[in-house]
């Protein structure tokens, strides 16, 4: 058995380094879909997180608790809800985005929004409270002081984006149920790994898993490197 795994691993590496077009195609699609989903979640999540992180208002704790509770939402549950909403007979069926990359993008963006919001909020809240006073005493207006607090949270901000992207690219439920795993259109890394494994095509599955893990690790290292350089 262990020999078969080793042999599979060897063949998988061979497949990666031979520049297989299918691998390339699936990987690029995965990065594009999850990257766009991350961008979308930041576009709508970051302003909310900035307000939550900087301001004090009634109901703030409830909103924060809600996003925290949604951090661990099962991807299949969200996938099913989106499927029901987006299917032809569903209330949002007219959008016609089921089984299309845009459907996965929106689905993944919704899935990772709690991560984006919660992580950015806590990054801003963890900035030394003296930073605001410091900005003020150096002559900053209230708005400029708030910008400085957000700038100071940039490491945590980046980490939130990375965590969101990693969750998006590694999820299966939404991509499978909303995307439908259509070859050449909505087939991404995770859905292909699941499909190929169930079909007994372990070599391709291993190769894709190596790629998936590499993306997650490389992105994390990159961020670590940037953080260190900023000092």
């Amino acid at each position: 058995m262990s020999f078969e795994i080793l042999e599979g691993l060897f063949e998988a590496l061979n497949l990666i380094f031979s520049g297989n077009p299918t691998l390339y195609d699936i990987t690029t699609r995965s990065i594009l879909i999850s990257g766009t989903a991350t961008l979308l979640s930041v576009v709508w999540g970051a302003p909310l997180a900035i307000i939550l992180g900087l301001r004090k208002f009634r109901g703030k704790t409830i909103i924060k608790s809600l996003f925290n509770a949604l951090l661990g939402v099962p991807t299949v549950a969200l996938g099913l809800i989106l499927y029901l909403l987006l299917s032809r007979s569903g209330p949002l069926g007219f959008l016609d985005i089921l089984y299309a990359p845009i459907g996965i993008i929106i689905g993944q963006a919704i899935l990772i929004t709690p991560i984006t919001v919660s992580f950015i909020t806590s990054a801003i809240e963890s900035v030394d409270p003296e930073i605001r006073d410091l900005a003020r005493t150096l002559g900053a207006s209230e708005t400029r002081a708030s910008i400085s607090v957000v700038e100071e949270s940039s490491s945590g901000f980046l980490l939130a984006i990375i965590a969101s992207f990693n969750r998006a690219i590694a999820e299966l439920g939404v991509a499978l149920m909303v995307g439908g795993n259509i070859k050449g259109i909505t087939r991404v890394l995770t859905t292909t790994i699941a499909l190929e494994t169930s079909r007994g095509e372990v070599v391709l599955a291993i190769a894709l898993t190596i790629i998936l893990l590499s993306i997650v690790i490389v992105v994390s290292f990159l961020i670590n490197f940037i953080q260190r350089r900023r000092g």
Binding site: L134, R136, T137, L138, R144, S148, E151, S155
Partner: protein, 353 residues
């Protein structure tokens, strides 16, 4: 002497806690005024209001004869700046830390570069521009904070215990810079401190703050000369004791400071006196030593604070006394909390006031 800053019946509350209560204070243009008071007396609150960071709940605050109301806070922030006790730095280079306020004031790039170099030179950190600010030592970080304030050349400089917990080398650089700025640029300086020697060396006037109220204000000479009844009562002020002094047969003074402790001083005085001993003047040994010093005590170490190249020990000899020794001596003597040590200091190191 023109009055630059004036507080009239200023009160500040944080919820139920009253930080300042009906406080009155005047700051004269061009002077160095030190605010002395124990922890929690409201020093930081007073300074933050003066810097336009915090707002009083009631009372009036005048800055250069103009009453400061809610629409004036931005203006006074551009004319004053504050250095905090806990060093706050932006997570970026020393250069970017120093340019923050200058950029807000719209200085051109070449002028900014020139001013930054000049300010860093003042705090003896020339060439540190590209270093990540947060990777510097504690003392250097505080010097960056001071340089960042100095670079703005504001009319008022507010310092909240700028040398607390720093080693002597950094303390003296900061003190020299403060004095230099006041002399050369005529900057008005308001500084909170625990250190009476620092106040004595730097300040023109003292203000004593107790429980949110200014209880005494006067020139350094006046406050120290009248044997302020408040001064010695600050538990946190370093090595200040109060007691009855009598002149001994050999011409020195013996001061009973309570708890069975007698301290000998060279200056002749009788009656109630305040005395202080510099933490650096106290010799620590593991055994009783025979020396010419007139004061020897035995005690136990109750607190250890690392100041970088030196270490500050709080020692219980019946009363708590602070001694400062080098890191090397501290390590060689293997001192821990609870270690029994002997303290020795000369009668001439005891300052009476």
């Amino acid at each position: 002497m023109s009055c630059f800053i004036e507080f009239k019946s200023v009160t500040k509350k944080y919820g139920e806690i009253v930080a300042l209560s009906d406080t009155n204070l005047k700051v004269i243009k061009g002077e160095i005024l030190t605010i002395i008071g124990p922890n929690g007396s409201g020093k930081t609150t007073l300074l933050k209001i003066m810097a336009g960071i915090d707002r009083p709940n009631s009372g009036e605050f005048y800055f250069d004869d103009v009453k400061v109301d809610s629409n004036k806070f931005n203006e006074i922030r551009s004319r004053s700046t504050m250095v905090f006790q806990k060093t706050a730095l932006f997570t970026t280079s020393v250069y970017n830390n120093l340019t923050y306020g200058l950029k807000l004031r719209g200085y051109p790039k070449d002028k900014i570069k020139e001013k930054v170099a000049e300010a860093l030179k003042m705090v003896r950190l020339d060439g540190y521009e590209n270093r990540p600010a947060k990777k510097l030592s504690g003392g250097e970080q505080q010097r960056v904070s001071l340089a960042r304030a100095l670079v703005l050349e504001t009319e008022l400089l507010i310092l909240d215990e700028p040398t607390a917990n720093l080693d002597p080398k950094n303390v003296s650089i900061i003190e020299e810079t403060i004095s230099q700025v006041n002399k050369e640029k005529k900057t008005t300086i308001v500084m909170a401190t625990h250190n009476i020697f620092q106040a004595q060396t730097l300040a023109d006037r003292f203000a004593i703050l107790l429980d949110g109220q200014i209880v005494e204000v006067g020139s350094t000479k006046e406050i120290l000369g009248i044997q302020s009844k408040y001064l010695a009562s600050f538990a946190r002020l370093e090595n200040i004791f109060r007691g009855n002094s009598r002149v001994s047969y050999n011409g020195t003074s013996i001061i009973e400071i309570g708890d069975g402790l007698d301290i000998e001083a060279t200056e002749k005085r009788s009656g109630r006196v305040n005395l202080q001993i510099r933490p650096e003047d106290i010799l620590i040994s593991s055994k009783d030593i025979i020396s010419s010093a007139r004061n020897t005590f035995k005690g136990r170490v109750v607190e250890i604070s690392d100041l970088g190249s030196s270490v500050r020990l709080r020692i219980d000899i019946g009363k708590e006394i602070i001694a400062q020794i080098t890191k090397t001596s501290f390590l060689e003597m293997q001192i821990n909390i609870g270690t029994e040590v002997h303290l020795t200091f000369k009668a001439s190191s005891v300052i009476l006031f």
